[in-house]
């Protein structure tokens, strides 16, 4: 394993866009070359070393053997691990928006919380978050009809709104609560929410959403039956019928939508 540490030299007010912090980019480069990688602090172009201290193994390795350790506050550093295909990124603290954009393989492990748009348009690989994640986990870009198409996202805390919007594949698991409209316009992905959710599966065409806590269910969902899954009794619904959807929604308890 080739380990490379990246540590911010200061706190950022203006967010930094650093899509080149990725095993695929780092792989063939020496530390000196990595230091010269271009990142953006607002409208200023910077060398990576201007903003971050880089250290670690100097010798280029195979991409799948690269481990990038992000130490310190990355909550305003965006697009880390964008389009990565292999290797591993570990964030010891929080990470900013768009981590793992379009990721196709490898792993991002976040010990803190993740910003919005985590794993946007992800195609493969795995993202884990010990803390919370923001809005639009695994979603698509504005106007697109496909978000995440493959891979796996696990959030041990809670997630924000629009979890897995336009999901076209892959699996998202949230151990805590999800916000409004998880799995909206789902087209075949799998979402499991450990806690509560508000209006899951709106306009879902296909796929499965499980809410192991309490859910407010849309009037356009049809109750089917109560089933037992992993020792939990879940109400099964079919929808979203506004669009002739054939998605499956399971919820442990249901908030009264009439109120």
């Amino acid at each position: 394993m080739r380990e490379i540490r990246v540590v911010p030299r200061r706190d950022f007010r203006v967010p930094v866009e650093a899509e080149k912090i990725s095993p695929d980019i780092f792989t063939p480069l020496t530390i000196e070359e990595i230091e010269k990688i271009e990142v953006w602090e607002g409208n200023r172009k910077r060398a990576l070393t201007d903003l971050f201290e880089i250290s670690g193994d100097g010798d280029p390795a195979k991409p799948e053997e690269v481990l990038i350790k992000l130490e310190g506050n990355f909550s305003r550093v965006k697009r880390v691990g964008e389009k990565m295909t292999c290797g591993r990124i570990e964030a010891l603290d929080d990470i900013g928006m768009h981590a793992g954009n379009g990721m196709a393989g490898g792993e991002i492990a976040i010990k803190g919380s993740a910003g919005d748009w985590l794993g946007r348009e992800m195609r493969g690989g795995r993202i884990t978050v010990l803390g919370d994640a923001g809005d639009y986990v695994g979603a698509g870009y504005r106007g697109e009809n496909c978000g995440m198409r493959g891979g796996e996202i696990l959030i041990e805390g809670s997630a924000g709104d629009y979890l897995g919007e336009h999901l076209c594949g892959g699996t998202i698991t949230v151990l805590g609560n999800a916000g409004d409209f998880p799995g909206i316009a789902n087209r075949g992905g799998v979402i499991v929410i450990g806690g509560d959710a508000h209006l899951p599966g709106a306009e879902m065409a296909s796929g499965t959403i499980t809410v192991r806590g309490r859910a407010r269910v849309l009037p356009s969902y049809q109750y089917q039956e109560t089933v037992e899954i992993d020792g939990l009794s879940l109400k099964k619904f079919l929808g979203d019928l506004v669009d002739n959807g054939k998605g499956e929604l399971y919820a442990a308890s249901v908030e009264d939508g009439g109120a």
Partner: protein, 429 residues
């Protein structure tokens, strides 16, 4: 007497105003509503440019104000150029160019009003029409979360519920009006059918209506978000049997829980209804040219608002690049406010973000934003003292007139002056 003047107030952009002018001064306004008339007649103005010295705003020259503004913008790493709703498109063009030159983020007041409507349109498209189409054909008007009686006083008479046209000779008598709102507004009092819904339940109610329209009403519960199914069935029936229906929605939809998804679902409802009859949908835009900024920004950058030029190429992502996002997260380090008043209209905590950074204001009138500004540049009032293009809420563009002269420069001239100075600073570096 100036005839057929456009009103520089709301998105109705009424173009039939008569203004009496004596000695280059306005002495009378006819046909305008209370809102428009009040603006055209004028208010207290910011007399001269000001800059902040020792914590106080002090009067200065335009030259110094321009220099100071240019320097603030040029030095910033993530300047925010915000506002644009009460100025003409010619200003927007200059503003977008300025945002490009300083590598800033440009955003309009749409993101605190109908921004969610635009994001909804990005999901579903918009089945719209010009207002005259509604006037001439609509026999059903649905106001959803909109209260034109207070926000767009002449809308009903000129364009919607009370107007008359080719196929609607009876005006209000030949029409039905449905109002959906969380309170009984003045608009609701004039409705044939009023649906009182719980705040934040628009999405569910729309889904229920879509089910009924699709003939699946038997699958929905007896009560949806506090509304009886029978009421929903009656409303859906009115929609389906209309010859030409128009769904006109306001901030009730975009400012409530669900935000753009409410609009998204409403657009789908209208698309569904077109399988049975003719239906159009329109956002009741607030300021007279907030729609214009969206148009100009779209043709110049490809995106209608919240465009980030930090890296030289347009990047759009409201939620990340809208004015309130940047301020609430304290990500911007300078702000230019043109023809808007964010200090009044943004949440308090967001305004506190403005207090931490240099702020430049371009506006004819003093307002709370002035209190937090470091450079204040007074301008001519568009549509009264300056001409230019504005887009009505339905996307129709019209040319605003100059009725009286002004001692103040136009917004467009101010933008050009700042742009010139920014360019000169660039050359020095």
């Amino acid at each position: 007497m100036a005839e057929d003047v456009l009103c520089p107030f709301c998105g109705c952009l009424c173009d039939d105003i008569k203004i009496e002018v004596e000695d280059d001064r306005i002495v009378g306004v006819k046909r305008a509503c209370k809102l428009g008339s009040s603006k055209i007649r004028g208010h207290e103005r910011t007399k001269a440019p000001m800059v902040r010295r020792d914590g106080e705003l002090v009067e200065t020259t335009y030259e110094e104000a321009y220099d100071r503004a240019a320097k603030i913008l040029k030095e910033a790493k993530r300047p925010l150029l915000y506002g644009w709703c009460s100025t003409v498109c010619e200003t927007h063009k200059k503003g977008i160019l300025l945002a490009e030159e300083v590598g800033g983020v440009i955003d309009s007041t749409a993101t605190v009003c109908h921004g969610p409507s635009i994001i909804g349109i990005e999901e579903k498209g918009l089945a719209g029409s010009t207002l005259g189409q509604i006037k001439n054909r609509a026999d059903l008007i649905v106001f959803w979360g909109a209260n034109p009686a207070e926000a767009h006083p002449r809308h009903s008479m000129r364009y919607s519920s009370n107007s008359s046209g080719m196929f609607t000779p009876e005006g209000r008598k030949g029409r039905k009006v449905i109002v959906v709102d969380v309170r009984e507004t003045r608009t609701a009092k004039n409705a044939d059918k009023f649906l009182l819904i719980r705040p934040g339940t628009d999405y569910e109610v729309i889904s229920a209506l879509r089910m009924i329209v699709a003939g699946k009403g038997d699958l929905i519960p007896e009560k949806v978000a506090g509304v009886a199914k029978s009421d929903l069935e009656e409303a859906a029936g009115m929609m389906k049997t209309a010859r030409f229906g128009a769904l006109l929605f306001g901030l009730g939809m975009t400012h409530s829980r669900g935000r753009y998804k409410n609009v998204d679902n409403a657009l789908s409802l209208v698309a569904d209804l077109n399988g049975f009859t003719k239906f159009v949908v329109m956002a009741m835009r607030g300021h007279y040219n907030v729609a214009g900024f969206g148009q100009v920004c779209a043709w110049e950058t490809g995106f209608p608002m919240s465009v980030d030029f930090s890296r030289g190429a347009p990047y759009f992502n409201p939620g990340e690049t809208a004015a309130c996002d940047l301020l609430a997260r304290r990500e911007t380090d300078a702000m230019l406010v043109v023809a808007a008043d964010p200090v009044s209209n943004f949440p308090r905590n967001t305004v506190e973000g403005m207090a931490e950074i240099p702020v430049i204001q371009i506006d004819p009138f003093p307002n709370p934003t002035t209190l937090l500004s470091d450079v204040v540049i007074p301008s001519a009032v568009c549509g009264v003292e300056a001409e230019g293009t504005a887009y009505r809420m339905d996307g129709l563009s019209l040319r605003m007139k100059k009725v009286v002269s002004s001692p103040y420069p136009t917004d467009e001239e101010i933008m050009q002056n700042i742009l010139d100075r920014v360019r000169r600073l660039g050359d020095d570096n």
